[in-house]
Every structure is written in C-alpha cells, then in structure tokens.
Symmetry: C2
Subunit: 360 residues, 2 copies
C-alpha cells in the first residue's frame, strides 16, 4: 500500500480498519473522521512520516535478485495495517522528535513483522494471507523462508544505521523472543488442552514483543527517560495482547451475530486460540471430543464451524476473550497515563479502544 500522506489514502486506511472496502470514492475526511474514538487521528498524525517509511520500505525491499522485490512487495503492498510502524512514529512524535531515526526504526519494525508473516505461512502451511494467495503458494516455501531472512537482515542493517545501541538491543531481543514464541507455538498449535497461561505466553512472545519494542524505541530515539521508555514498552505489550485476542475473537465472528467472510480461518488451520481454550475447558466431555477431532486430528466437516461458534456462544468463550482483551487494554491505557499530553498520546489511547471495539 504505497503513499500515506494524502486524504484519500487516509480515508482508505480508515475504511480498511473498519473492515470496509475502499471503492475509490473520495469522501471529505471531515465526514468520516471519528474524532477521539477511532484510528483517523493516528493515521493523520503519522501520515507524513509514514510516507517516508513507505518509500524506505520500497527501496530496502529492492534487490537485483528478482524474486526478492516480487515476494516482498506481494506482502508489503497487500494492505497490512502498518500498526507497528505507526506506533513507533507516534511514540517518537509525541516527544516532538524531528530527526530521521524513527522512520528507519519504523521500517525495520515492519520488515521484522513481514519476515515473521512469510515464515509463519510456511510453518502453518497457509494457503491464503490477507485475502490473496500466500507468498509460499506463489513462489514456494524455500523462497518464502529465504526472503524472510533477507528482510530480517535488511531490518538489522537499517537499525544499525540509526546507530542507537539501546534500540538495537531492544529490537534484536524482540526478534529472538518472537522466534522463541513461534517455537513455543509448535507445541500448543494443535493441543486443545493448552491452558490460557500457556497461550498467553505464546502471544506475549509472538505478537506482543514486537508491539512492545515498536513502542519502546520511540521514546529512546527521541531521548526520553527511563520512565517513558517503560511506559511505552508496557503500552506496546498490552496493546499487542489486546489486539491479538480481539483478532482471535474476530476469527469466530467477534461479538457480532453476522459472520464476516474471513471467519473460521484459525479453525480450519487447527489453531488453538483463546476462544477455543475457553470453550474447550468449559465444555462437556462431548464438546471436548468435538474440539479434539476438529483441531487435533484435523477432521473438519462442513457444519463444524457453525457448531464451533455455537459452542463458543454457549460457553461465552468469545465474550470472555473480548473481556480478557479489555483487561490488557486497560493496562495499556494506564501504562501511558503519566506521559505528557500530546495529540499522539491521545491517538494511541484511542487506538486501544478502537482495537477492542473491532470485536463488536
């Protein structure tokens, strides 16, 4: 998704976030902006910097090896949320930082995320990603693994150029924790007996660690103190947890009765997420046999997704997943509370509510 610094682009991103397609109709921003409770303020605040991040991403994903830009742009152009780099930009921006470091750090963070997605799809044998064929289905597993490695290498090169050892320490630590989380997930992937704590440990590593690092490098590059770093680190961690849990809930339709078109992906892939953990633990022994058949042995019949969603509703598994997400969202908000009031801070507080409201 190129661009980012104009109103049409902002509108496109807002619609994307709301799960609506962008049809190219230019609606005046003033009519759609959800002031104080949405994503539009954040998108707008970081729009100019994000334009620079996008340019940097396009240039750093380039290579004389043809397959590299092809695979990278397949994923990079496919409409990711750019949430992690937005976090880095807004965090640095809230201190009035006017250098270039945050742009490189934000691009690094997005590359780390993209590399993870490439590797994830290989590990999970996923056919689809963001509504189109996954890179591994087009170019194969080997190329996906190696281009992921290439992007990770480029991410580190960009970080090194920024020259902050603290940022390098935090982001390289996150890279290692993410990989650890992926390995952890291998053992929980098809195990419906996974406890909530075990699942939390996985997403804390796999998802929250990068949000945390993306937040923390903002105050660091801007020269803010330890307490501010800790605030953004904690904000990122807990936003990441809330974000992942809401994603998990949305995969079973969220709290809305209408089922979106992408409902059931996790189920079909045998992923054990929190709604499954809760429904399994709260269910009868018959229920548990159902979950084991579907997710452990992978024998999924046409009607099973509806049965799964029915069991989740019966045991309040989706509602309570959202409730758990609220808890982490509340911690994220309190983490940021002592930070100086700025439009960026307000936009990041709104982001927490917005992430959680997606489930309704």
């Amino acid at each position: 998704m190129p661009g980012g610094g104009n109103r049409t682009e902002i509108r496109r991103r807002v619609l994307w976030w709301r799960g609506e397609d962008f049809l190219g109709v230019v609606v005046p921003l003033s009519e759609t902006k959800e002031t104080g409770s949405g994503i539009a303020d954040l998108v707008e605040l970081v729009a100019a910097d994000m334009e620079r991040v996008n340019q940097l991403i396009l240039s750093k994903a380039g290579s004389d090896v043809d397959m590299i830009p092809a695979i990278a742009s397949h994923l990079i152009d496919s409409g990711g949320k750019r949430l992690r780099p937005m976090l880095t930009l807004a965090a640095a921006g809230s201190y009035g930082y006017d250098g270039d470091g945050h742009v490189s750090l934000a691009a690094s963070v997005e590359f780390m995320h993209t590399a993870t997605l490439l590797h994830d799809d290989v590990v999970d044998e996923s056919d689809m990603r963001r509504g189109k064929a996954s890179a591994r289905m087009v170019w194969g597993n080997q190329a996906s693994v190696l281009v992921g490695d290439y992007l990770l290498g480029q991410a580190f090169k960009m970080m090194v150029e920024v020259g902050s050892l603290d940022c390098l320490r935090i982001l390289s630590n996150a890279a290692s924790i993410i990989a650890e989380g992926e390995v952890m997930q291998l053992s929980t992937a098809k195990n419906v007996e996974t406890t909530e704590d075990e699942y939390l440990a996985v997403i804390r590593a796999k998802t929250a660690a990068l949000f945390s690092a993306a937040g923390e490098v903002g105050p660091i590059i801007a020269g803010a103190g330890k307490a501010d770093q800790a605030a953004f680190r904690s904000y990122g961690t807990n936003l990441g947890l809330a974000f992942q849990l809401i994603d998990d809930a949305l995969d079973y339709g969220g709290n809305s009765q209408s089922l979106g078109k992408s409902v059931g992906d996790d189920f079909r892939e045998g992923k054990v997420t929190l709604p499954v953990v809760l429904a399994y633990r709260r269910g009868s022994s018959d229920n548990r046999a159902f979950w084991k058949r579907c997710l452990e042995t992978g024998e999924i019949l046409d009607a099973d997704l509806q049965t799964a969603i029915g069991l989740m509703r019966e045991h309040r598994a989706i509602e309570d997943t959202v409730e758990r997400a609220r808890h982490y969202g509340a911690i994220a908000r309190d983490a940021l509370a002592p930070i100086k009031a700025t439009p960026q801070k307000q936009a990041l507080l709104d982001l927490v509510d917005f992430c959680i409201r997606r489930a309704y």
Copy 2:
C-alpha cells in the same frame, strides 16, 4: 495454630478468614458454614490432612538449638492462613490420593512460605507481622535470616524424603523464582514509576510462583497427567495473583468505606503496590509529587494516609485493582474447569470467589 481436625478449629479458621476474632464460643458449624461460596468447605475437606501437616511442621521446626523452635513457632503459631498447604492437600485429595506424600509436600510449601516471611521482614525492616512483633524485632535480623535458611533446608529435606523428582524440580524452581522476585522488588520497592507490568512480574515471582508450585505438586504426587498438572499450575498462579492484588487493595481499605485496623501498613513501609501504581499514573503532577514524597523519600505525615486513600478513590485505583484481581480469578477458574468434578475442585473454585470477595 495447632490442630485442624475438629469443628472448633474449623470454625476458628472460618472466622479468621472472615477477619473476625475467635472468642472460643462454639457455634454449631451448620449455622456458620458458607456452603458453596466460602472457605469452610475447603477447610473441612482438608482438616484431617492439615492436622497431620501441623504435627509435621511442629516436629520439623524442632531443633536442639533453642532459638530455632522459638522463632519458627513464633511465626508458625501466629495464625497464618495455611492457604498454600491447603491448596496442595486439596489438589492431591481431588484425585483420591491416600498416601503421605502430600502431607510432607504441604509442610514443605508452608516452610518455604515461612522462610520467605522471615527474610522479607529483615529486607523490609518490618516491625510487625500478623499483629505482633516480627521475629527480627524479638530475636534480631541475623537469627531471622538464619532460621529462614534452616526452614528452607528442612523444606528441601522433606521434599527429598517424598522422593518425587518432578515435585523437587517444581518446588526448587519456585524457591529460586521467589528469591529472584524479592531481588526484583528491591528495585521497584520505593519507585512509584513502576509500571503495572513490572509490578505484576514481581508478584508473579514473589507470590504466585509458590501458589503455582503448591497446586502443581498435588496432581503430580497423585499420579495425574500433564493436562491436570498444567491446570493446577495455572490455577495456582492466577489464584496467587488475585490473592496478592486483593491483599494490596485491602491494605487501603478495599472497596469498603470502613477502614480496618491494619490499613496503611504497605503505605507506611513505602511499598509500591498496584493501587499506588494506578493512582500515581492516573494522577496530576501534584498527586505524583505527593506519592513521591510519601513513598520514595518516606516523609509521611499523619494525614497522608487519608490523602492517599482519597486519591485512590478519586482515580478508582482500588476498584480497578480489584477488577484486575477478578481477571486473574477468572483465569484461575477456567484453568480448573476441565478437572473432574469433586468436592475439592468445587471448594477451590469457591476459594477464588472468596479471595476476591474479601475486598468488599
């Protein structure tokens, strides 16, 4: 507190839990038993085993070195809740375990807890513990440290006698995590800028790790499988977190308007607990200066406790501490959900509610 296997003793424990003094009046148990929502069922279920634990504790706290039994019984007889050994006993009991191992493990767990208290009081320079002079005030710091070490040694000896390497691994791991948590706490102790995540990491290590181990050794000694071990491990962890957070809230009067006699201990000792973390982060810069003066520099005036409680009420810091505790309580309940229905399981589920209701 010797005994445990008779109705008077049970009644005494129930009253203790309810924060009421036991005046020796024998009230028929049927009139006081809070079936399905209290602690009485749990106390009664483990009463016979707890009697054996108490005998073992008395015998293992003995030594030819006079000061050892004196200090040990000073603390052991002073009316601790025996919550951790009750958890071990109930967990093993829920599998119908009829050996002796759980009694030794429960006594070990209580010794580990007692050793921690002895060392804690030295580190925190506490004058009082459970309403009477702390051991270090009577026998001095050196004796408190060394008798703590002695009890820890006795705890390990008892565990080794049980002969389960899995239990040894879990309890020795907990011992090391607890110590790590205490060291962590040194850096958060008087730092009001501590984030909620940092505080959670401390109590996860300092408090929840022993609850977790106390729970997990139950199914292990009873020969239950991995899923059951994970369930009790997770139950213990989250019960421990909820328990500690409610304790934190109670130290500022809980959600009740009436202030108990022990309110303010944490405040006077400069302990940064979650109610402080929330009130500090949510407060104005004037508020923050107040918290820094009281807790970091230790200049506490007579009216400061009331001001502190007032600020907490203004910022909903106590309510939200209880709300956070509810979250961990909910996870504890879900952790135990798939375990076979037994009176012990029900009593442990009730225990979660009971712990949280203490705050009202």
